[in-house]
Amino acid sequence: MSDAFQAQGLVKRFGKTVALDGIDLSVRTGEVHGFLGPNGAGKTTTIRVLLGLLRADAGTVRLLDGDPWRDITRLHKRLAYVPGDVSLWPRLSGGETIDLLGRLRGGLDPARKADLLDRFQLDPRKKGRAYSKGNRQKVALVAAFASDVELFILDEPTSGLDPLMSEVFSQCVSEVRAQGRTVLLASHILGEVEKLCDRVSIIRSGRIVETGSLSDLRHLTRTTIHARLGRPADGLGQLPGTHNVTVDGDRVTLQVDPDALPEVLRRLGEHEARELVSQPPTLEELFLRHYDVGPHHNSDEKVGAR
């Protein structure tokens, strides 16, 4: 499978601040790739380097088989970008902005635009300054999804949308995935990434700390089990690979490493389990693990992760 883009060892400094500290990131053609991290971790900076808006101090980037700093026109015709902070021209109407951005990319489908305006419930006649944050974001989203491109780069696209509109956004992402197009979705909303993404990369302090498919990553985390037992829960806490065991009468809650799961299930059976609820590991746990107990953790990151 080929890569829509690939970055290796990206370093970007702003003065003394190191924003990117050796980013390795690759997104395969046709996948929806989640790019997770709190504010300030370097998501937007990475995207701006990919788009040729910032120049990396070190490292290499290949974007759609080109150099994003040199082949601007050729590459940018094939991608659509939704910035995290959408700023519109105050005197241009939303419809004008959508048409303009689409045409600057190399074309936009009017029927698709009309359909998206309808689904996002956006009035295209309002002037740019009259839109709320959510509506500004919708303008950028309609302009992106109405364009005929191979790659969508979306930087926290739902941060201003209400739940209904977030759902419309999810449908749009599913549609473009079904058409075999690639999506890079930067976000700090774990539920969204979990729902939409095939693979995930987690960024922390300018470094990618984890990359893989959701099922790969779940292997790294623990399943939570709640059970009601027929016999006292003695000895369960001593099993290797179990954590945070709490016993309350006949109820027991514990977390289990993937490798220890068969043994734990066998012992639960021996203890005459009457009820059993097992929760798959969530991305959130994985995320918090990286942000809470990492070797260099500091208070700034905690704020972002929680």
Partner: protein, 540 residues
């Protein structure tokens, strides 16, 4: 008073935000007022010299359009008012307007006002804080100017009238801005309306004062000055028998306008304007598909306003040209003053050179604002989506530069056509005057482009310092107006690109300066484009 809760805190916030800009502005205004007093005292030390001034610049109706009526110009105080006051008034009025808009409408437009209003802050506190900060700064300027003028040996009463006169003009226009801030949603438009009010009343005063000087202080037209706040400054008569009650007129006007602003603000929602925003088209016209089309769309309304301003200014100043010989008459000193400004042999031509120079400077100022649109688009994050589309850096920057060049050509053409037609019609020789005046206007193109080219170079190399482009325009204006009068060193005069232009109409045409000015502009512009292509986009 609950409606004013938090005013003091908001005022301190404004002081914190502009802790450098505000003091610089105050000191600049004071030094513009008091600074020239010393050198003018040297230049016009004797009664003989002062009489010469009164008969020269003092009786020149053309100069009065800009510099005000000639009240008490047979003494040093009147000369100081005539030479320095207009600059202080321009600086104080325009800055007062822009600061009030900055603290009120800009805050609403950005959404920051919502944050503030949601806190324990009264309904009128933001407006009150804005007027408080600007009002106190205006007062400091006035008192500082008065102290400075007294320090230069001028009379106490006159100096105080001068200073407080400046303060009152600042107050009135701060209150005008407080009203326009309520009217429209866009800060740019609110600024534009308030500045247009200032420009219109300034022009009205110019016409009135010109008529006053031409008719030796008589005639009905001179009374139009009473309709203009900058006119009140001169009617306060610093150093010429002060009329203190004029101050009351200004304070009353400021208070009424502030009351209107408060009343208007109660009739609207935060963030909204009283004049409802109109809806736009749901689709873009087919042509809106390139960076150039976008740049033109963003800048065309600005260019139309500039062209209208140049046309009005050209018509007023151009219509005086035919009378200049009669007005000046046998007065050799006045003729000499005009010849100094224009530098041509024939008196009318000399005057026309000066008129076209002023309009050419307006074109240069426009070009700087057009090029710096690149900077405001970049820092407003609106360049980012365009550059993330299939648009190269060079093409993007070039689109705004092309609009600027086109705009300068349009403005110079407007200036040449209007002045040529008006003067031609009045002198009964359109066929003869129009071509030579049009040519004289257009010959300024390379000089008018140079400040914009500097701004473009800074945009690429030092994007944080693009304001230097405006500074250059200000220096050129000062050199053009004060240089010949103060008889500045030639090397100072040479800083202005306009100094190197042939004196047209009437003078000899030399191609060399045009070629090297053009080459320099081209070089600076190219440097800007080349460096912008290599630098990071400013996304902070």
């Amino acid at each position: 008073m609950s409606e004013l809760v938090g005013t003091w805190r908001l005022a301190r916030l404004a002081l914190r935000r502009d802790r450098i800009g505000l003091p610089v502005w105050v000191l600049l205004a004071i030094s513009l007022a008091a600074g020239p007093a010393g050198s003018l005292a040297d230049a016009y030390a004797t009664a003989e010299k002062q009489r010469e001034y009164a008969e020269g610049v003092g009786s020149n109706p053309a100069a009065a359009v800009f510099s005000g009526p000639s009240l008490g110009v047979e003494h040093l105080g009147g000369i100081v008012v005539k030479e320095s006051a207009v600059w202080v008034l321009l600086l104080v009025a325009i800055t007062s307007i822009m600061l009030v808009i900055r603290y009120t409408r800009t805050e609403e437009e950005s959404g920051r006002a919502e944050l503030v209003t949601a806190a324990a802050v009264g309904r009128h506190s933001r407006l009150a804080a804005a007027l408080l900060v600007v009002g106190v700064a205006d007062l400091l300027i006035g008192l500082g100017a008065a102290a400075g003028l007294m320090g230069a040996g001028l009379s106490g009463a006159g100096s105080l009238a001068y200073g407080l006169g400046v303060t009152m003009v600042g107050w009135v226009f701060a209150a005008v801005a407080a009203v326009t801030a309520q009217l429209v949603e866009a800060a740019r438009t609110a600024n534009g309306i308030a500045l247009a009010v200032f420009g219109a009343t300034f022009l009205l005063r110019g016409i009135a004062d010109s008529a006053s000087v031409a008719n030796d202080g008589t005639g009905g037209v001179r009374l139009l000055a009473w309709a203009s706040p900058t006119g009140w400054f001169y009617q306060l008569r610093p150093y010429a028998g002060e009329r203190w009650w004029v101050l009351g007129l200004a304070v009353l006007t400021g208070a009424v306008l502030s009351g209107v602003a408060v009343a208007l603000s109660q009739r609207r929602d935060i963030g909204a304007g009283l004049l409802a925003a109109r809806l736009g088209p749901p689709d873009a016209k087919p042509g809106l598909a390139t960076p150039l089309a976008l740049a033109w769309r963003l800048q065309r309304s600005g260019l139309i306003s500039w062209a209208a301003g140049v046309a009005v200014g050209g018509a007023v100043l151009g219509s005086l040209a035919h009378d200049i010989t009669d007005m000046v008459g046998q007065n050799a000193t006045a003729a000499k003053a005009i010849r100094q400004l224009g530098g041509a042999d024939v008196l009318v031509d000399s005057y026309l050179v000066w008129v076209l120079r002023i309009l050419g400077l307006a074109a240069a100022a426009y070009a700087v604002s057009a090029v710096l649109r690149l900077r405001s688009e970049e820092s407003g994050l609106r360049a980012e989506p365009v550059l993330a589309a299939a648009v190269t850096r060079t093409r993007y920057a070039l689109s705004h530069v092309l609009v600027a060049v086109f705009g300068v050509v349009v403005l110079l053409l407007t200036a040449g056509l209007v002045v040529g037609l008006v003067h031609g019609a009045r002198s009964g020789d359109v066929g003869g005057e129009l071509p030579r005046i049009l040519g004289a206007a257009l010959v300024q193109l390379p000089a008018a482009l140079l400040p914009a080219a500097l701004a473009a170079a800074l945009f690429g190399l030092l994007p944080g310092a693009t304001m230097v482009g405006w500074l250059f325009v200000g220096v050129i204006l000062l050199i053009a107006q004060l240089g010949p009068v103060l008889e500045l060193n030639q090397w100072v005069m040479d800083v202005s690109p306009f100094t190197h232009l042939p004196r047209l109409p009437g003078g000899d045409v030399t191609a060399m300066p045009l070629v090297w000015l053009g080459a320099l502009a081209l070089l600076l512009g190219a440097a800007g484009l080349a460096t912008f292509r290599r630098r990071d986009l400013d996304t902070a």
